[in-house]
Point group: C2
Chain length 215, copies 2
DNA sequence: GTTAGCATGTAAGGAGTTACATGATTTT
DNA sequence: AAAATCATGTAACTCCTTACATGCTAAC
């Protein structure tokens, strides 16, 4: 469906941003990353890689077969253009950042953005979900006549899930704001590795003051 | 993508099973029903209807324009073949019933199936999700080396969501088993209509045997 | 009288899956 | 020795979205 192409491309850029990798491994990482629904097929990955090669976002090098690595594998790595493209996409704030398909990927690579961007994307996503809730709730209000038990239960569960998602985002936003010490993006990192989880399940301290990410 | 076609078809069959309807309304109901992700477009609905017409699953009749209904609208209704097809699809137990896209629709029309079928589908779905959890958890165990904070948080949240889904299913299964009085599906219906909500949030009475996610 | 929603479609095209091919390497 | 998994692709096909067309009707 629609906008997945950009999604896969961003994901590939992000993974290669960490270091070179060959197709097979790329696919595994990708599936682990966005694997909660579909599984990415080779028929999708390899053509994408070819396309990115043509666009000069990545380069391929075949590993010379040493006695250690018996088999020649095609390793992909980012070009400078690819690096720039990744940064461009990651700093882009707008609908593409918080639509269903894209958000997860964006989030997964959050370490490579500034807090400012992160906040905007998180808030945009939350607003998006909130809109969805409002829309459904208002439609529900109209259709109050003959309601099927199971249909209603499904709806209820759906609403609850989205509400939960909103709370999650709110917690993350709070965590970001309340001086999350390590903002990364300064890669100096003298060994310090204390992992303060971004979304500790603290009782939601601040209710979202109806932030409008929008536009 | 892929298997949506059958899904839309089932949804249309199910909605028309309640009574005749025209395209525009069908679309609205559909969007409310499966609307948590994408929105169904006309470019998708009308061709599907045409296809179902060709397959003789539905018939169309143009409303005669009375002084009341000013405008002629094309109303669709099930044929007998369509009715049978709906029943066939709803009693079909197997992967198609509990894959992501299909499960919601199946569930929404659960009132028109026997409890036996419902249980099998619910359990199938639960097993499916459990497998997914196991797969991810085992893969996580392997990749324990360099973990990015945000990537981990995303993963954690994903796991939690699926675990929640599993609990929901378990509650529903329990509710079904503990003599949910009105099983519908016997349309004789001698009055009895007390609506015990299928998944009341009762403190989970029975823990599913081997289920339960580790948290 | 103009905007917003009702109502029905078609054509072109993008995105990704399935199935097909092929073969090396590792594990059982 | 067989099975699993690594590894890389291509072609055909399906499904769906976007954008285009068209016109009625209700509300503001």
């Amino acid at each position: 469906m629609a906008r997945r192409a950009e999604t896969i491309e961003l994901a590939v850029l992000g993974l290669l941003h960490e270091g070179p990798m060959h197709g097979y491994e790329l696919r595994k990482r990708l599936n682990l990353m966005l694997g909660w629904g579909r599984v990415l097929s080779y028929g999708s990955l390899y053509p994408t890689l070819k396309k990115m090669l043509r666009g000069a976002l990545i380069e391929e090098t075949t590993t010379t077969l040493t006695p250690v690595t018996r088999r020649p594998r095609i390793v992909y790595q980012l070009t400078e253009a690819g690096q720039r493209e990744f940064e461009r996409l990651m700093t882009e704030v707008g609908p593409t950042a918080w639509e269903d398909d894209n958000f997860d990927i964006r989030f997964a690579f959050f370490s490579r953005t500034d807090m400012e961007i992160r906040l905007r994307v998180l808030e945009g996503r939350r607003t998006r979900l909130q809109e969805r809730l409002d829309r459904v709730q208002s439609q529900l209000a109209m259709t109050q006549k003959e309601v099927d038990r199971y249909a209603v239960e499904l709806q209820r569960h759906g609403v609850e899930s989205v509400e939960r998602e909103v709370r999650w985002l709110s917690d993350l936003i709070n965590a970001e704001r309340s001086g999350n010490p390590s903002t990364i993006s300064n890669p100096s990192s003298t060994g310090g590795h204390q992992s303060a989880t971004p979304a500790a399940a603290e009782p939601a301290t601040v209710q979202p003051p109806e932030v409008s990410g929008q536009k």
